[in-house]
Each structure stands twice: as structure tokens, then as C-alpha cells.
């Protein structure tokens, strides 16, 4: 029954998430891609921060790390550098990745470490009860924006692209098959890859914003999402209020762990013994 069940920690189910929460859909995408790419589960690491998305690693039977708020990418950077053979997927929420973790996000992208990161963007802080986040649309209501949100949201793909990532994509949980492909391509890509996923939070966001159910929110995704290909044939007026999805940006750029490995072999083979080796006998360890 269900060849994907083997990737789940079955005794932890059902999940903690509210009915209709999109985090579980993204989790399904991840295990389908891991299965398709035949990655050894012993080598897979799922790293998360804090929030609803932060609880995902607990349900997945890989090496799983539930870190502090906003810091998932820095733990992942340490893991990847220390053991490049690991296949690391970083799962973050919008408040997690863009507010408290915003600095880490841009620097992880700039450093271009081979990580696949996913921002599950539900436009709200769900776990803490529906406060507005840096992704909440202007004018939307939240428990800390009772008169409507005054702040504009981040344009996430532009932010991450401008920071230097190798791969930037956007999808929705409604367009699940496309999302599988976007995550797969991110995992195949050498370098920092980011997939922004629009995901419903009917309880924290929808209720206060005329979308009472996950169904209504997914309908919104269905109506608003336009693939990059289709968008290229649409004019500005037609694209108003639309969300462009698909592979938004891709480039070849030096990947940090590989660059570092190259650096290591370059400086290891240096013939001359440096001052420090003479001072301390480090040459001796060097010989080991």
C-alpha cells in the first residue's frame, strides 16, 4: 500500500497542521522527488526553522533537523560544507525565511551553496496566530494588522535572484505536478536553488480575508497563477493581479562547496612549508 509511505514516520501521523494547510502537500512533493531521483534516504537531510513549516522534518524519515527561527539555512550551510555528500533540502516559512531569516536567505543565495530551499509562503505567521509577515499582501488583514496591512510584501524570486542564486522558481500547491517538477529541477541544480510555494493558510489568513477555506484559497491560486510561458504572451493589463509561476531564473555559477574543495586541493599540494608550519610543527599533521 502506497510506495511512498516508507518515507514517512508513520507513528507521528496525523500531522499537527490544520485541515487544508498546504505544508503537507509540499511534503508530498518532496518525497515524490526524492523517490523519483532515487536519492538514498540516509543521505537526505531536511532542515527547517520555526513555524508551521518547521514541523515538517519530524514527519519525514530522513536525517531531520528542526532548528531555530530563521536559521535553517545557516545550519544547512554548515552541514553541507562539512559533508558535501549530503542531499539537503531546507524548508522555511515566509516569516521564517524573509523576516527573521532574511539576512541568511540573501547570503545563502550569494554564497551559492548547493542547497535546495523551499519557502512555503502562506502570507502569514500561522503558528503564532495570524500576524502579518513580510509576504502579507498590502491591505490584507492580520491579527497585528486589524486595519489592513500597510507594508508592501517582498517579491521573493527577485530578492533571491538579485542575491546570486543559481535557480529560482515559483509554484503553488494547487499546481502540484508543476511543483514536483520545480523542486526536482532545484535538486538537480548545482548551487543554491529556491522554490517559493504559495500555500494556503485558511485559519490564519483566509478567515480574515474573505477566503474561509483551503478550497477558496486554492481556487485563488488556480485563477491567479500563470506560467511563465503563458505570461510571456500576455500584456501588462492581463497580468495585473496574476502570479507568475515556473522556473523564473536559472544560471550557471560557481558552487561554494565545490569551489572550496578545489581550493583545498590547490593549497594542499603547495610545496613550500609556510611560516606557521615551521613555528608550530603543523607540517607534521599535514603529513598525516
Amino acid at each position: 500500500m502506497g510506495r511512498l509511505l516508507k518515507y514517512l514516520r508513520l507513528d507521528k501521523f496525523p500531522t499537527v497542521w490544520c485541515a487544508g494547510c498546504g505544508v503537507g502537500i509540499v511534503m508530498g512533493c518532496i518525497i515524490r522527488v526524492v523517490d523519483k531521483l532515487k536519492v538514498n534516504p540516509d543521505k537526505v537531510v531536511i532542515v527547517s526553522g520555526i513555524g508551521c513549516s518547521g514541523r515538517m522534518p519530524g514527519y519525514l524519515d530522513f536525517n531531520t533537523l528542526h532548528t531555530t527561527h530563521g536559521r535553517a539555512l545557516v545550519f544547512a550551510t554548515g552541514l553541507k560544507l562539512a559533508k558535501p555528500s549530503l542531499e539537503i533540502i531546507v524548508v522555511m516559512g515566509d516569516g521564517d525565511a524573509l523576516a527573521i531569516g532574511g539576512n541568511h536567505l540573501i547570503h545563502a543565495a550569494r554564497r551559492n551553496v548547493n542547497l535546495t530551499s523551499i519557502i512555503i509562503n502562506n502570507w502569514i505567521y500561522g503558528m503564532t496566530g495570524g500576524q502579518y509577515s513580510p509576504a502579507t499582501p498590502r491591505g490584507a488583514f492580520a491579527t497585528t494588522a486589524p486595519y489592513g496591512n500597510l507594508e508592501p510584501p517582498f517579491e521573493v524570486p527577485e530578492l533571491v535572484r538579485g542575491s546570486g542564486a543559481s535557480y529560482v522558481a515559483r509554484g503553488t500547491v494547487y499546481h502540484t505536478r508543476q511543483l514536483d517538477r520545480l523542486i526536482e529541477r532545484g535538486m538537480r541544480k548545482e548551487g543554491f536553488g529556491l522554490v517559493e510555494v504559495l500555500s494556503p493558510c485558511p485559519v490564519g489568513f483566509g478567515r480574515r480575508n474573505q477566503m474561509k477555506s483551503a478550497i477558496a484559497m486554492m481556487r485563488w491560486q488556480k485563477d491567479r497563477a500563470v506560467s511563465l510561458k503563458r505570461a510571456s504572451k500576455m500584456n501588462e493589463e492581463e497580468l495585473k493581479d496574476k502570479i507568475i509561476t515556473g522556473v523564473l531564473f536559472e544560471r550557471e555559477a560557481p558552487e561554494y562547496t565545490q569551489e572550496y574543495e578545489r581550493l583545498m586541493s590547490r593549497v594542499k599540494t603547495r610545496k613550500e612549508i609556510g611560516k606557521r608550519e615551521i613555528q608550530t610543527g603543523l607540517g607534521e599533521i599535514h603529513e598525516e
Binding site: K12, R276, Q279, E288
Partner: protein, 376 residues
């Protein structure tokens, strides 16, 4: 090998780390600790290790915990302002029992304070800095050579007890150059982490073991387990069961208490017949020993107690000495942090006098000598 070298305390940290098997360093530039990062950025890649300069200290601390989970001995170095930022993930390392070493080269404070001058203002932050009530191990050297040795000890203690361990320097020790003869690195004792021997499906990452230290598997070697900063049960998964939480938190805190005698280290000079004890640590103990010798020359029975392990605090030693002494002088470059511990451990059965400075200048032997004469 075993040739004399003229190196600074910060270089000694870097060499000690390499000798102890540290192969991952993540850090953020900050005076007066930057030479540690600079030295390791040069040497780590030559020795098969990784160095990365992160975007801030929050990131540095997170990265070393990540690297340590991959099975690599990891370290970061900083000074007070950065140490404040690291507290969050130091707590995470404590909660998740991930071994790592944090070097804090103390500078003047509060806030940005005095970047290029020494201080000992972070002693209490080291003990109580992170929220939720952690316990800690911190070592505090007084010479360049001891800095090398204690760096190795910090790595070993972290691996032995599965903890973040702090090496607490001050700016003087970090930037002072001394002639040292370093030991053969090959002969340095390295404590390996206790590894699981069971089958992966039987592995309990936070098992309640007889020694209170659960075996630790590396990510990627087949033991797929969960690590979380939430209160967790022996399987590693979140729990809100009162009994399991109690068991976890008491074990985390208690494993230092349980091994307190094994960890606690002091050095003493002229203590056997001493009536006046000077309690000093780090660079201040260098002035203190001069003052003690001068006092002896003047016929005053003074002695020095220097805590090598500043945390856990040497309660037993102070308590034992309290009845034999006439007075204790606590000299420190803050407005009285360790003095409170001395009062507590001695139950104030003895007169206690503080000698303090917070102006970025060293406490001189004369200042301590004056205090010794005052109480003698």
C-alpha cells in the same frame, strides 16, 4: 617539532583547535578575536578542514552546530557583542546536545564598549546568557601556552559531554605574544564522541543511558534521526509529557553537575599556609601572582587560587578554604561577577574584598598588593 615559537594567544587557539581535530570553523570578524579566524582560514583548507565567514554571529553559531551534526569537530570565535548574538544557538546546541566550541575573547563593555581593550565582563553571560536555564562549561587560560592546551581541552570536553563549551579569553591573553614550545600534535589526546553501536532502527538519539550521555550518530551514516530544539523524548521527537520534559531538562543540566569534579580545575600557588587568598582568572591572575609573591616577600601569607574552569565554579575549593582564611580578594575586570560566586561558595564565612576595573586598563600588581595589605 617541539621547537620554540613566538605566538599570540589567538594563534594558540587556532593551533590548539587544529591539534584537537577541529576541521570546521565558521565566524564573523570582530575585534579582538579576528586573528583566530584569519589563522584558521589559512590553515584549515591545507589540512582538509573547512572555513567559512558567515554573515553574522547567529549564522556562525548555527553553521558550527550543523557541521558538528555531520560529525566534524567545529568551532567559532567572537567577542562580547558577537557572543550576545550567539546565545540563541548556543541554547540550541545545549538542548540538542551537539558538541562545539565557542571562543569568546572578552573586550570592554557594555554594548560596543571598548573593542581593543581587555575586560572580563562576560563571565556571567557565559553562565546565564541563553534563555531557559542552561548549564555550561567554560575554561579560562592565563598564558599563551595554556590557551593552546585549554583549546584542546574544550574540544575534548565538548565531545565527551555533548555540549557547547566556551573558551573564555580576554583581550590581553589573545593579543599577548609569548615564547611557547608546543607539543607534538600527533601525541595530543583526542576524545572521540560516543557513537551508537546498535542497529539504526533501534537507535534512540536521546536515550537515557547510565552515564547520562547518549551516543551520537552523524548525519548521513544511516541513523536517520530527528533533532529539535523543542523539549523532546528519548526518540528525539517533541514531547509535552511533563515526566519526559522533567527527565530531559534535569539530565541536560545535571550532566555537568554529575561530572563536576571531573571537569572543575583550579591552579593554586602558596595556598598551603595562606591566610589571604587572591582569587583571579585570565590575565588578572598574572598580576595577582606578582602581588602574592611581593606580599610573601613582605611577610604576608598570601596565596593565589586561579580557576582554570571558571564554569563549573570551584565551589568545593572555596568552601574548604573559607575557614582557614582571614580574607579573600577577588580581582576581576568587571564590577564584580565572580565575587558573587565566591561569596556564595564561602557562605561569607570569611571577609571578601573586591578589586575591580572597568576602564580598559589592567589591574596592576600594586592594586592587588594594596588590597592584600589592607586585609592583612
Amino acid at each position: 617539532m617541539e621547537k620554540p615559537a613566538l605566538i599570540s594567544g589567538n594563534e594558540a587557539v587556532a593551533y590548539g583547535a587544529l591539534a584537537a581535530g577541529v576541521r570546521f570553523f565558521a565566524g564573523y570578524p570582530i575585534t579582538p578575536s579576528s586573528e583566530i579566524a584569519e589563522t584558521l582560514s589559512e590553515l584549515l583548507p591545507r589540512m582538509g578542514g573547512k572555513f567559512v565567514q558567515m554573515e553574522d554571529e547567529l549564522a556562525s553559531m548555527g553553521a558550527i552546530v550543523g557541521a558538528s551534526l555531520a560529525g566534524v569537530n567545529s568551532m567559532t570565535a567572537t567577542s562580547g557583542p558577537g557572543f550576545s548574538l550567539m546565545q540563541e544557538n548556543i541554547g540550541f546546541a545545549f538542548m540538542t546536545e551537539v558538541p562545539c566550541v565557542i571562543v569568546n575573547v572578552q573586550r570592554g563593555g557594555p554594548s560596543t564598549g571598548l573593542p581593543t581593550k581587555p575586560s572580563q565582563g562576560d563571565v556571567m553571560q557565559t553562565r546565564w546568557g541563553t534563555h531557559g536555564g542552561c548549564n555550561t562549561i567554560a575554561l579560562c587560560p592565563w598564558s599563551v601556552r595554556e590557551t593552546f592546551d585549554l583549546t584542546i581541552d574544550c574540544v575534548n570536553l565538548a565531545n565527551r559531554y555533548r555540549l557547547p563549551v566556551v573558551l573564555l579569553l580576554d583581550e590581553v591573553i589573545a593579543h599577548m605574544r609569548e615564547k611557547v614550545v608546543l607539543p607534538s600534535f600527533g601525541g595530543v589526546k583526542k576524545v572521540q564522541r560516543k557513537k551508537p553501536t546498535c542497529l539504526p532502527q533501534e537507535y534512540l538519539p536521546y536515550e537515557i543511558t547510565e552515564d547520562d550521555i547518549p551516543p551520537m550518530a552523524d548525519f548521513g551514516e544511516g541513523y536517520r534521526y530527528h533533532v529539535t530544539g523543542l523539549t523532546h523524548d528519548p526518540t528525539g521527537f517533541p514531547t509535552s509529557n511533563a515526566k519526559e520534559i522533567d527527565q530531559l531538562v534535569r539530565r541536560l543540566y545535571g550532566k555537568i553537575e554529575r561530572y563536576r569534579d571531573e571537569i572543575t580545575r583550579i591552579e593554586e600557588e602558596y595556598l598551603a599556609d595562606a591566610q589571604i587568598l587572591v582569587f583571579a582568572y585570565g590575565s588578572v591572575s598574572r598580576s595577582a601572582i606578582s602581588a602574592v609573591k611581593e606580599a610573601r616577600a613582605r611577610g604576608i601569607k598570601a596565596g593565589l587560587l586561579r580557576p582554570v574552569s571558571i564554569w563549573p565554579f570551584p565551589d568545593k575549593h572555596i568552601s574548604r578554604l573559607a575557614d582557614q582564611l582571614k580574607a579573600i580578594i577577588v580581582a576581576e575586570m568587571n564590577l564584580g561577577q565572580m565575587i558573587g560566586e565566591v561569596r556564595r561558595a564561602s557562605c561569607e564565612r570569611v571577609k571578601i574584598l573586591g578589586v575591580t576595573r572597568v576602564d580598559g586598563e589592567l589591574i596592576t600588581p600594586d592594586e592587588i598588593l594594596t588590597a592584600i595589605q589592607e586585609v592583612s
